[in-house]
Each structure stands twice: as C-alpha cells, then as structure tokens.
Symmetry: C2
Subunit: 199 residues, 2 copies
C-alpha cells in the first residue's frame, strides 16, 4: 500500500537525517503521528529556529548564534594556541579532549579536482586571523585523509614562510577516518602526540 | 563545552525520534546545520503539515488526511473480511502481507490497571462498524502479548454472542513481540494460520 501524500512527504524529508533509511523513516513518521504530535511540532520549531538563527562566528567560523562565539569570547582560553579543523563538528570533537586554545574552522579541505582551492576553503581568512593574534603554535587538525594531509601541508608551508610553527596531530587515529567519528581518547592521544611538520 | 541554546534545543527535540540517543541527535543536528539547511527546513515544514493535516479515518480509524481513508474507499477490497489491530502502524504491517480486506484500528489494548476499558480503546465503535458491514469473519490481529490476547478474547466473546466468527492470527511470531516490528513473511504466516477462537 502507499502512504498518503503528507505522510509520504514526511518520510521522504526524514531521510535527510544521517543514518536514516526508508524503513527507519517510516517508523519515525508513524510513531510521531500516533504517539507524539506535540513533540513533533516542537521539533519542527526547533529545526526552523536553529536553521534560521545559527550562523558562523566571524572570527573562528564555527557554528554560533552570535557574531562572535563563546569560545572566541572566553578570556580564560590559551591565546597562544590555534587549532585548525575542517568543519564545525570537529570543534566539538576537539573540545572533548580538554584542548583549551583557540580555533579556526576551514570549509573542508583542498580539493583541486572539485575546483576547491585555498580561497574556497578560507585559507586567506585563516592567515588574516593568525596575523591578528599572537599565536606561538598552530595545530593542524584536518582529517587524516589524503586531502586533509595535503591541506595541512599546504598551510604548514605558508606558515613556515612567515616563521610560524605549525604542528600536525599524531596519527593515533586510523588513516582514512573522520575526526568527528573517532572516540575522545584516541583524539586526545593524537593531539598530545602532535609534532612539527617536516617540510 | 556546551552547545549554544538553539543547537541544544534542536538536539533535545531530535531525541523524540525512536532510536535516537544523545550522541546521534548531536550528529544529526550538526550535520543538518553544516550540510543541509534547506533539507532541514523542508523537514520542519513536512512535520508541521503532517501533524496538522493527518487525522484518523472516521470509519476504520487509521491515519488519514481525508475523512474516510483510501483503504475504506477502495471498492476492490474484500468486504467480507475485517482485520482488527491495535494501532495505525499495524495496518501498514498487515498490508504488506497481501491482506486485502477491511480494517478497524483500536486505540491500543485493554489495560484495566491503567483504567483502559472497552470504551477507552474504541470497542463500541468497532461493534457499530461490524454491525454496519456484512463481514463473514473478523480477524483479531492485536499483538501477541498478554494484553493483546486478553483484548482479542474479550472481542471474540462479544462477537460470539452475536453469532459472528472471530479468528485469531497464528502465533507464528514471537510471543511478547510487537506487530509493527515483525518481518512481513512471519506476519503473512501468522495471518494464513489464523483459527477460530475457542472460548
Ligand atoms: Zn568563534
Ligand atoms: Zn478507513
């Protein structure tokens, strides 16, 4: 049998959620309709408010409802350390290791085949931010993938030209993995084992 | 670190979805914010439209956007067979077995300890519907749980008093299970093996 149009539309829309296939989406839709309509309406409102109200911090470019995020505003954090990641989700992952320096969030990694060069991923803004702050070390925490490594090396080269120390998180995590998927202990290990990039 | 208020609200709201814990909700929220805001806004709209637009068929009480649902309106279905289930989700499960009769959807099962008697779960409406149609058999497809069995027996007794045949789906499915969770083959088996209730 086929679902009615509004139920079908809801099932299709739920499939944008990571890890949600057709069967799970059906179950979610019917369960909300039958057991928790007020919760579903609250979810609809929370989605709208978050999508419209959450932007990016103008300083570190992580997700933020304010022009400058709480991490950038916090005066207790270490102003000599900067950690560069590929996306906002990585900030939450690195925070869980106990890191307490500053951040800069790239828009992904360099990907020449897709036409994504330094400008597309925000490297000029990263350099401007580094110039502005008094960082003694820049930790390159892009993903340990081929593209993430290439991006880290590219940035390290630029920083070396300016006499700045760049370090790379250790390969405590599996190659080809994604920062946001790794457990906190492994990531903490990788952070602690960071070393200068040999060019 | 703590998430900003709008992101936290979104994460909390996502947890109403079946099978979604804190970690999964975080991942869903951040991924939508970062990668698919338009999809998330479409989901919000689909949720609102479905919760406001989908009601219950006045004849079989399954989920429906129209006063009388497509299943009840379909002239090709077998008017001599009625299948009674505990909830709208069970209709979709039974449909997948190839059953092509009519339905009646109870509001769950009898639960005297929770104060849920025959009126609370819609048994008077079921009897009115049966009186109206010319059913030769009423298949009781409540869940194979203690409460579902008790509900089936209660209805069978009422129908026997009226000289109507009630049958119970076979126990091809695991006891204590839920209709909506079982695979279609097992449920088809259970439907095919139905037998009259011996009172
Ligand atoms: Zn910031
Ligand atoms: Zn109907």
């Amino acid at each position: 049998m086929s679902f009615s149009p509004l139920i079908r539309q809801l099932i299709d829309s739920l499939r944008i959620l990571p890890g949600v296939g057709q069967k799970t989406a059906q179950r979610m839709a019917l369960q909300m309709l039958e057991r928790d309509r007020s919760g579903a309406l609250r979810l609809a409102q929370a989605l709208t408010q978050a999508m419209e109200g959450v932007g990016h911090c103008k300083q570190c470019r992580s997700l933020s409802e304010d022009e400058v995020c709480q991490l950038c505003l916090d005066p207790r954090r270490d102003d000599s350390l900067m950690c560069v990641v590929e996306g906002p989700m990585d900030v939450y992952a690195v925070e869980q290791t106990g890191y307490r320096g500053r951040y800069f969030v790239l828009k992904g990694h360099l990907s020449p085949l897709d036409g994504l060069g330094p400008e597309a991923i925000g490297i000029p803004e990263l350099l401007a931010r580094i110039k502005q702050g008094g960082f003694s070390e820049v930790i390159l925490a892009t993903n340990p993938t081929v593209e993430g490594e290439a991006t880290a090396h590219y940035i390290a080269q630029l920083l070396a030209n300016k006499g700045l120390i760049a370090s790379r998180i250790a390969h405590g995590m599996p190659l080809g993995g994604e920062l946001e998927l790794v457990d906190g202990g492994t990531l903490a290990h990788a952070l602690a084992g960071r070393r200068p990039i040999g060019l």
